[in-house]
């Protein structure tokens, strides 16, 4: 009962300006921002930026579109089932632009199937713009960008039905997926489509790896926009994030060594958790 009757403690700012316990978090945010900005500045001034390693799933995007073009069948894109507040959906938007351009260029039908109305609205605009920039505004069919259902398994049923009726040759699924991933990937496999599946939801990765021809694992989807555009500025952001990972890895190693050498010491955890 004590805590029921206890006075609420007024929150106290850390270092005078930060929310309680947020100073170190903000420091990391700032650090990542600075690193990315440095890399982007290097790219803009023409200095050499490391290349992104070959990612088979992203290399295969053009192959998949080419296959669909040869067969005269559509390309299907599914941006996951979460809304625009999910970074994976934002990563999917980066891919839509490239795929829509390619489809416009080769006059291949492009179907985008959406579970959420917000991504639907964004993808429709991205696709329209892509067709416009390729000089094919007449070829853009807004009916091919569809909102199917906000309910997960109603959406799944609708997609399976579209697979059966439209018989796409290529299925690209990049974004936040859950239980429907297995159903979609396996149905696509039965239909003989070339499939590229990518998600940062690690619990669905085994299904994509098993049922798709190519799988994008975790953060590879976040590199998609940079990889497909091949622009040095975008490469710079990916390099920046890799530098951040190196810094985090060094912190982990330091912590592990400290914990081994001096198990009672709380030096690092006090710094990282105390501000």
């Amino acid at each position: 009962m004590m805590w029921l009757l206890a006075q609420e403690q007024a929150p106290t700012p850390t270092l005078g300006i930060f929310s309680t316990g947020s100073a170190i978090d903000f420091a990391f945010v700032l650090l990542l921002g600075v690193i990315i900005w440095i890399m982007v500045a290097r790219a803009r001034t023409g200095r050499k930026i490391p290349e992104i390693r070959k990612i088979a799933g992203l290399e295969a995007v053009d192959e998949a579109i080419g296959r669909a073009t040869e067969m005269g069948r559509p390309v299907v894109f599914i941006p996951g089932i979460n809304s625009v507040d999910n970074p994976q959906t934002l990563a999917a938007f980066g891919m839509v632009s490239h795929i829509a351009r390619q489809c416009a260029r080769y006059d291949t039908r492009f179907l985008a199937l959406n579970n959420d109305p917000l991504p639907y609205a964004v993808i429709e605009e991205i696709t329209r713009q892509a067709y416009l920039e390729e000089g094919r505004p007449d070829a853009f069919n807004p009916d091919d960008i569809r909102f199917l259902s906000a309910e997960q398994f109603a959406f799944t049923g609708a997609v399976i039905g579209i697979f059966e009726r439209e018989r796409p040759a290529a299925n690209i699924m990049v974004g936040s997926f859950y239980a429907e991933s297995m159903i979609l990937a396996e149905t696509g496999s039965f239909q003989g489509m070339i499939q590229i599946g990518g998600t940062a939801n690690t619990h669905q990765l085994p299904f994509f790896v098993a049922a798709c021809d190519y799988a994008l694992i975790g953060e590879e989807i976040y590199a998609a926009s940079a990889y497909l555009s091949k622009e040095p500025v975008m490469y710079g952001t990916v390099v920046g994030q890799d530098w951040m990972k190196i810094i985090i890895a060094l912190l982990i190693v330091t912590g592990a060594v400290l914990a081994t050498v001096s198990p009672d010491s709380t030096f690092l955890s006090d710094i990282l958790g105390g501000y």
């Binding site: 300006i17 929310s19 900005w37 970074p87 398994f153 690690t202």
Partner: protein, 209 residues
């Protein structure tokens, strides 16, 4: 201004979110509250967009008497009928609740149950010992599967304890931590790209700046 406007709005909103999350004054002034409310309202408006899209497509199917047009009628009747019922009765209404409990809910469970069958066919079709790595993965997967079911303990008493402690509790956690750290940094970098205006795909740009 067509692209610059949304970009400016994105950057300003991002700055408000960062300020509210990390700075004491941001929390004290509760700057996030109106943003949160606007987000919820825009989600609801977007749902109306979805309604319009579905209606437009299926009415076109009906007009052209496209194959399967009868199902378009069923979809439109169900969609607007259930909407009307919900507006009249609210979610506590007898008929509204009955349809939810006895039709909608079992339909969702039915489609989800397909996962089990698809896993079965995927297991037969796709789990092949093509390479050394695939073999190791396969053996590990079977070992963990049997360890998580009581049959594993029936065959060897310590199977589930071994799997829980060493495979799921140690090896898996190590790998998962690495992957999750990378995903977290990657997700944040993506958000940062949008905040800094480097990524413009979401506003119909060519994808980069």
């Amino acid at each position: 201004m067509r692209k610059e406007g949304p970009m400016i709005l994105t950057v300003l909103s991002s700055l408000v979110v960062v300020f509210s999350q990390y700075f004491f004054l941001g929390q004290k002034w509760a700057l996030m509250d109106p943003l949160n409310n606007w987000f919820l309202i825009s989600m609801s408006i977007a749902l109306a967009l979805g309604f319009v899209n579905l209606t437009s497509i299926h009415v076109k199917y009906l007009q052209r008497k496209r194959e399967g047009w009868f199902y378009s009628i069923i979809l439109l009747v169900c969609m607007y009928g259930y909407l009307a019922l919900g507006l009249i009765q609210t979610h506590n209404g007898l008929q509204f609740d009955w349809i939810y409990q006895n039709a909608y809910s079992p339909l969702g469970s039915t489609i989800f149950s397909l996962v089990a069958f698809f896993i079965t066919s995927a297991a037969y079709r796709a789990f092949r010992v093509r390479t050394k790595e695939a073999t190791i993965l396969l053996v590990c997967a079977v070992f963990v599967m049997l360890g998580r079911a009581p049959i594993g303990d029936a065959m060897w008493g310590g199977w589930s304890a071994f799997v829980n402690k060493w495979v799921i509790g140690t090896m898996n956690v190590a790998g998962m931590r690495g992957i999750n750290l990378g995903i977290a940094v990657g997700g944040f970098a993506t958000a940062l790209r949008i905040m800094l205006g480097l990524e413009r795909a979401h506003i119909g740009g060519s994808g980069t700046q």
